[in-house]
């Protein structure tokens, strides 16, 4: 299994699409390096707008570009776009229904030891309360590329969050990427894990470890948080335990979205796995995940404990 960096996957695909469609613009906040937009900026300078370190300005400018008939992608660290410029995302983009895509990189705890200033463990919770903007957390590089091909044709505002480093490719062949349609990656009758973003790979690892213990674990890739695949959630709840796994606060994110569905339509026991209510533990992202028991091993152990096995 090869690894791909979702940032590169996104910006590489965006650059290819932008060569063909001159209305595709990239908007940066001194972030061309961290987002991997340098090639875009060099190759298509007329379709690149540098805003400096000014996220509020960048989102407003992107809204204005959209009003002028363009398809802007505002690109920068997820943590800043979803709080520093949260009001611009709410008012200028979502409420005003301007076709702006917010591409947040280095999401979750992928900035590792840079600490809580740079972590975005709040973004899904915040954006889920703002109507009018789609939310995507792709799970690998190939799905990210497929998502870009959808986004450049879509007229809907959207937020897309990826991590920072190379992550394993999950979709080797076909890449199903339909908004509002979760991908079932593994069958299993004993427990269902619904995961999003780069935690999907950890969910698959957990399922492998559970299989060794005789526990059959289904895994769902819920890369599309809005629109949400309610049918998949209800199907997942055929198992006696539903586990959500996300690189996000345990409050307000995927776990909350799934529990909102199940508590009202099909109550089943749940575990919401994510980052606890505290300033994040320090370390490389893999170390942080291990610390909180959110890697494959840790998730498997939590599930076995819950199942008393």
């Amino acid at each position: 299994m090869t690894d791909m960096d979702c940032r590169n996957a996104f910006t590489g695909e965006l650059l290819e699409c932008a060569r063909e469609d001159k209305t595709i613009f990239a908007v940066a906040t001194d972030s061309r390096g961290s987002v991997t937009l340098t090639d875009f900026a060099n190759d298509l300078p007329q379709q690149f707008v540098e805003c400096g370190i000014a996220e509020q300005d960048a989102v407003g400018i992107a809204a204005g570009l959209a009003n002028g008939g363009l398809r802007p992608f505002a690109c920068g660290p997820a943590c800043f776009y979803t709080l520093r410029s949260a009001e611009q995302v709410k008012v200028d983009v979502a409420y005003s229904h301007q076709n702006v895509k917010i591409f947040g990189v280095s999401g979750g705890i992928s900035y590792g030891a840079l600490g809580s200033t740079h972590h975005s463990t709040h973004d899904v919770a915040l954006l889920r309360t703002i109507p009018g903007i789609e939310i995507y957390l792709p799970s690998d590089g190939r799905q990210t590329q497929a998502l870009v091909r959808y986004l450049v044709k879509s007229d809907e505002p959207a937020y897309i969050r990826v991590g920072r480093g190379a992550v394993p490719v999950i979709y080797e062949d076909e890449v199903p990427c339909t908004p509002g349609k979760a991908n079932k990656l593994r069958e299993g009758k004993d427990v269902s894990i619904i995961a999003c973003g780069e935690m999907v790979w950890h969910a698959l690892k957990a399922a492998e470890k559970l299989a060794e213990k005789g526990v059959e674990c289904a895994v769902w890739d819920m890369f599309s948080i809005r629109p949400l695949d309610v049918d998949a959630i209800l199907e997942a709840a055929e198992a006696p335990l539903v586990v959500t796994l996300e690189e996000h606060s345990i409050h307000g994110g995927l776990g909350c979205a799934v529990s909102e569905v199940l508590i009202q339509q099909k109550p089943v026991p749940m575990m919401i796995l994510g980052l606890p209510e505290e300033n994040t533990y320090s370390g490389k992202s893999a170390e942080v995940l291990r610390h909180y028991g959110l890697d494959g091993q840790g998730v498997a152990e939590k599930i076995l404990k819950k199942l008393n096995k």
Binding site: V49, Q56, G60, G64, N67, G68, P72, Y95, S96
Partner: protein
Amino acid sequence: MNTNELVRLAQMRRADAVTMIHDAKTGHTGGAMSCLDVLTCLYYDVMKVNPTDPRMPDRDRFVLSKGHSVEGYLAILADLGFIQKEELRDFSREGSRLIGHPNVKTPGVEVCSGALGHGLPIGVGMAIAAKRTGQSYRTYVVMGDGEQAEGSVWEAAMAGAQYGLDNLWAIIDRNGLQISGTTEQVMGLEDFAAKWRAFGWEVTELDGNDMAALQDYFHNTPNNGKPHCLIAKTVKGKGLPFAEGRKEWHHKVPNDEQLQQAYEALGVKGVDWRD
């Protein structure tokens, strides 16, 4: 357009706005009145807009960043035919699309506004889009002077200069008053023109309630490759004797007697859309 006719139109739109506020028992009287000459000049004499095709691609762009001054704006959109004049009766009523801040449900409104400090960044984006795609439209953003305390205004000021946006006008309704007092008491702006010049803008100061001066400015704005800043010195509550220059009229609502005083001062008998 003839200056006297523009002055008459501005007075009629003031009558519309003060009636809307009176009837709805809510609104921002002072700011709606102060910027109405600027809005009238832009919409009736300067901007290229099309009420029958509000999304016409090369329309001039307008953003009322001080969105609370919505009443006069809606009155103009109604008079020009973007919406039916009778709809002004619904202002701030339950279920109405004509609410206390501009929103995109209203034909002719480009973006939702009212959260201050948002308009100029959007205007910068509009102006960049025109430059990059060879479109000839111009972009006009009207801001409040109290709004100038928002940091995002100055982020956009930097960007406007960086990109040489001579197709962009930032117009500040410099009425000198905000909800808590004078701008200088709350968060001083002066030397205000110097600040904008230092940020790289071509700056003009004039009487923002002088229609002839506004016409002359907008039709003959000097162009030296910089974005344009107009500091329009206005009177809060302009045209309403009981409200002029009084901060409490930021969002005070006129009573029946004051509405009649307003009509008299504005030289109108009333409005033609009211029940």
